[in-house]
Amino acid sequence: MKKFLSALMVFCLVLVAGNGFANDWKKIRVGVEGAYPPFSYVSPDGKLGGFDIEMAEAIVAAAGAEVELVVSDWDGIIPGLLAKKFDCIVASMSITEERKKSVAFTGKYYQTPAKFVVKKGAIKEFSKEAIKGKSVGVQRATIHDQYLTDNYGKDVDVKRYATQDEVYLDIAAGRIDLFLADSIAAKEGFLMKPEGKDFQFIGPDLNDPKWFGEGAGIACRKEDKALIDKLNAGIQKIRANGTYKKIQDKYFDFDVYGK
């Protein structure tokens, strides 16, 4: 019995080790969100689509691997990565110091500023005093949440939502006065839709690296260095061969890669 057990243990060890060392990343499972238009959404027929989704597919393909998309809630997406539910995250995740404590990032694959959105005419000129006491919606666990909590947490009533879509619903319903979000997501996902027609951007472009990082990158587990190299090469490749521009032009009329 003892012999059998030790043999079993050795077998298990071989399995585990084999898994760990021999992973040549022929197949990469990508964690995505699916509730962040136009970057990531689920279409009425149940299919995933959006800039992040197409980027994930293109980058992984350029890295010479097969892609498998795994949908995850936003506030469980980093724990999901660490629990090996998927191998990397392509979900407009900004590269920040705070997140680098838990995960490693590739270089950025796009960068856009954050902005406040408010009902037209509700606030004349943006300032800390002007929004004092107002309720401001934000998606939980985002850089926008962090920025808002650190800079305005004492002055405004911060309302945190699980998805960006719920923020749009509640500002349209009049439950919150403003929201803070990525400017492109807010423009394409809300302001250009019929329910967003009475709303506008207010205040400056927010891109302080302390909160907003260096753009959106692909998050991986720290130990998977080979995967990070592979994905970085993938980003370079689609930037160089025109695939990036082709996907970008489907969604935006300007260069979202930033400087």
């Binding site: 506030d75 469980g76 980093i78 724990p79 660490l82 838990s102 919606g137 939980r140 666990a141 949440d145 962090q146 309302k159 945190r160 939502y161 699980a162 619903l169 509640d170 349209a172 319903a173 009049g174 439950r175």
Partner: protein
């Protein structure tokens, strides 16, 4: 394992504790106040009286609390007539929506608990009360309801604890209750284990106190069932 994060942010858990306690106690109290007369009416043989109450309890016991909360919170915001009416200042507030949903839900369950206890009143007691010439009102207030409350107490104790646990759903609609506090800590520090085990400890403590109180109450109310 890093519990210093929890120690540094314990304030938000106490804010959550306050909100949970308010939500649960207010919805349970209002629910109980409405449940008693409705349970009495529910036992009526007149279908015009018992029918609507039956439909109400059937709906609220037949659908998940989360669905009810979404219907009230997001659903109401969809109708322009409600948004234009005097009701909107209430439905605009997440707190009110959660209270409203919890109250309707617990009221439905409590009606059924009390109704069951009323219908289990021994026939002899009711007949004796009739023979003594008591009116319907006297029969209910002196004989049927007091004994029904006694019989309902253990089941109602469960309802209190279910409501406490159900209240964690409030965190879905932006309210910072105990679960909401855990979600904020989890999302900020990516420490789901520490964040949620702390929330669990809070719920356990409340449940422990509740069970102890209910035991004391049962000891008094159900004294006639005690084995000496």
């Amino acid at each position: 394992m890093n519990f210093s994060i929890i120690a540094d942010n314990i304030g938000i858990y106490f804010l959550g504790l306050k909100n949970t306690l308010i939500l649960v106690s207010v919805s349970l109290s209002i629910g109980l106040v409405f449940a008693v007369p409705l349970a009495v009416l529910r036992t009526s043989k007149n279908i015009l009286i018992s029918g609507p109450i039956n439909a109400y309890t059937y709906f609220f016991r037949g659908t998940p609390l989360l669905v009810q909360m979404f219907l009230i919170y997001y659903g109401m915001g969809q109708f322009e007539t409600i948004k234009a009416s005097f009701l909107w200042p209430f439905f605009r507030e997440a707190y009110f929506c959660a209270l409203f949903a919890f109250t309707l839900n617990t009221c439905a369950y409590t009606i059924e608990i009390i109704r069951g206890a009323i219908e289990n009143t021994p026939h002899g007691e009711v007949e004796a009360a009739k023979a003594a010439g008591m009116s319907l009102y006297l029969r209910f207030t002196r004989i049927i309801l007091p004994s029904a409350f006694r019989r309902a107490l253990p089941t109602y104790g469960n309802e209190i604890i279910f409501m406490l646990h159900g209240s964690s759903l409030a965190s879905v609609i932006t309210i910072i209750d105990i679960t909401g506090a855990a979600r904020i800590i989890n999302s900020r520090y990516y420490t789901p284990y520490e964040a949620f085990i702390t929330a669990g400890a809070f719920y356990l403590t409340i449940t422990f106190i509740l069970v102890w109180l209910l035991k004391k109450l049962e000891y008094r109310w159900l004294a006639h069932l005690r084995r000496e």
